[in-house]
């Protein structure tokens, strides 16, 4: 069992916490001038997203979590699992709905995502920062309006709904920022 000592603690380190994999998001060294040193850490539970605070005595150890980020291509969704493929090894694996979560609405077939694996099983899926998606439904815009002011909702091929300028029409493809959910431009 791999372990990390408090001296190895740093942001991003993957550790086991309460039986779940976690990532250190903050590590503070605290020590009275003439006393015991501690590492006060904040750890994000990678399953639930919750932040946990924990204090370790300097020199104590914590179990390492076998968590790796892999670039994988999204293949298809069979209704239960989202299937991804490693573009180098062609190895495939399925991520369940809990792992994909809200990001499902940004997944377009062929796009390369970051799949976070814990002991080889997908924990979370991060879509590309920018995705190009086709509009399947939006109200016809006011003819001649090119100002971009105002805007209207548009439903994309993946089911995501974003606000687009009035001049954008049904059937067009657009670029969207997946972190903010905002329209960027026509593709």
């Amino acid at each position: 069992m791999a372990t990390y000592s408090t001296n190895e603690f740093k942001t991003g380190l993957k550790v086991m916490i309460d039986g779940s994999p976690g990532a250190i998001v903050e590590n503070e060294f605290v020590k009275p001038g003439k006393g015991q040193a501690f590492s006060r850490v904040k750890i994000r539970n990678l399953k639930t997203g919750r932040i946990i605070e924990r204090t370790f005595k300097s020199g104590d150890t914590i179990e390492a979590a076998d968590v790796v980020d892999a670039e994988m291509q999204f293949l298809y969704n069979d209704g239960e699992f989202f299937h991804f493929m490693n573009p180098e090894s062609y190895e495939q694996l399925g991520a369940d709905k809990a792992a994909v979560g809200d990001n499902a609405k940004w997944l377009r077939e062929q796009d390369v995502c970051i799949v976070t694996l814990w002991n080889g099983v997908p924990l979370s899926v991060e879509p590309p920062h920018t995705v190009t998606l086709k509009i399947v439904e939006t109200d016809p815009g006011v003819r001649g309006d090119t100002s971009g002011g105002g805007g209207k909702p548009a439903t994309l091929e993946t089911g995501a709904v974003v606000r687009v300028p009035l001049f954008i029409q049904n059937g067009e493809t657009i670029k969207v920022n997946t972190r903010t959910g905002e329209y960027i431009s026509r593709a």
């Binding site: 001296n7 060294f29 020590k31 009275p32 001038g33 003439k34 006393g35 501690f38 605070e53 914590i62």
Partner: protein, 333 residues
């Protein structure tokens, strides 16, 4: 640690802050000069080291004239031992501004080498020394930090007020319960720790310190005898260490002692600390026999204090990290 990039040659402190540092150093020297306290310099390298299990000394090897086969030398964690030898030799009140070195300490408010202002006042009790610390710190922070009236809080009052227990009588279980009540979570192994000292430090650093010195200087005093370090212990129930610490805005700034002058008591404490070190699996260090000889010869009644200069600059400049006030911290050293 930040990765090595092409910008790493540059200082982490702004030039304005380095200028403020220089002005504050000049202010300290003027303060002591006016008060007739002698500036001294003592060696950073010593054949002896502090056995305090909470302080880890760096060491290096000297080889050359005098020690042709090599001599291990320890970098000081504080200039306390040689300064006491000067006091025993009749120096009168003295101060020093120097670099000290502590292995294993790096963080938001820690760098393994940092600057201390350490001074000793002959025929001076802790109350008088606290007053002088207060005067100096107010003088240095003037026009940088607005300070309300200074507060003095005993170690017991601070724990009762902020953690709801008496630190002198509470058991490890009491401390563990108080920690849980304050949402301090530790690994289950910690709960098995019956060492009350660790629990005191946990609550002190996590619960009490952040609440001390809010907009004012707070002196914490009357420490448990087990945390006397090099301070005298006043008999009583419980016996209390004649020691204080100074806090401002939750940050520990200074540590002061009514200095222990009893050589045999000092040797007993050193040996207890050496034993504690060995229990933690740390190698022994040579005791400072020169200090013990100086104490045996007679240390004048005195009080001494070490003030963390970098942290004082942090407070004066509004810095969040120690790297903002020193030119090149550990990751750029």
């Amino acid at each position: 640690m930040t990765s090595r990039t092409s910008g790493d040659w540059q200082p982490t402190a702004a030039l304005e802050v380095l200028k403020l540092r220089a002005r504050m150093l000049a202010g300290i020297r003027a303060f002591f000069s006016e008060r007739g306290v002698l500036e001294v310099e003592t060696p950073c390298l010593s054949a002896a080291a502090t056995p305090d299990p909470a302080l880890l000394s760096f060491h290096t090897l000297y080889t050359g004239p005098l020690y042709p086969h090599g001599q291990t030398l320890y970098l000081q964690t504080s200039p306390e031992f040689p300064m006491k030898r000067l006091l025993a030799a009749g120096s009168g009140s003295i101060y020093q501004i120097c670099k000290v070195f502590r292995d294993g300490e790096a963080g938001r408010a820690h760098n393994p080498e940092f600057s201390l202002v350490e001074w000793y006042r002959v025929d001076c009790d802790l109350t008088q020394l606290m007053l002088e610390v207060d005067t100096l710190v107010r003088h240095l922070l003037d026009r940088h930090v607005a300070l309300a009236a200074t507060e003095k809080l005993s170690y017991r009052e601070a724990f009762q007020r902020h953690a709801g227990l008496d630190p002198h009588t509470a058991t490890a279980q009491d401390f563990a319960r108080a920690a849980r009540a304050q949402e301090i979570h530790t690994p289950p192994e910690m709960l098995a720790h019956h060492d009350v000292a660790i629990w005191r430090d946990l609550l002190l650093t996590h619960v009490i310190e952040p609440r001390l010195g809010q907009g004012r200087l707070t002196f914490l005093y009357d420490y448990p005898a087990s945390q006397a370090s090099l301070a005298r212990v006043r008999p009583g129930n419980p016996p209390l260490a004649e020691r204080f610490e100074l806090y401002l805005n939750g940050m520990e700034l200074a540590n002061g002692f009514h200095e222990l002058a009893d050589a045999s008591e000092q040797r007993t404490r050193f040996e207890r600390q050496l034993h504690a070190r060995s229990l933690e699996g740390r190698p022994p260090v040579p005791l400072d026999e020169n200090l013990l000889a100086a104490l045996a010869n007679g240390l004048p009644d005195c009080s001494g204090v070490a003030l963390g200069f970098d942290r004082l600059v942090m407070l004066a400049s509004g810095a969040r990290t120690i790297g903002e006030v020193i030119a090149f911290p550990l990751d750029r050293a």
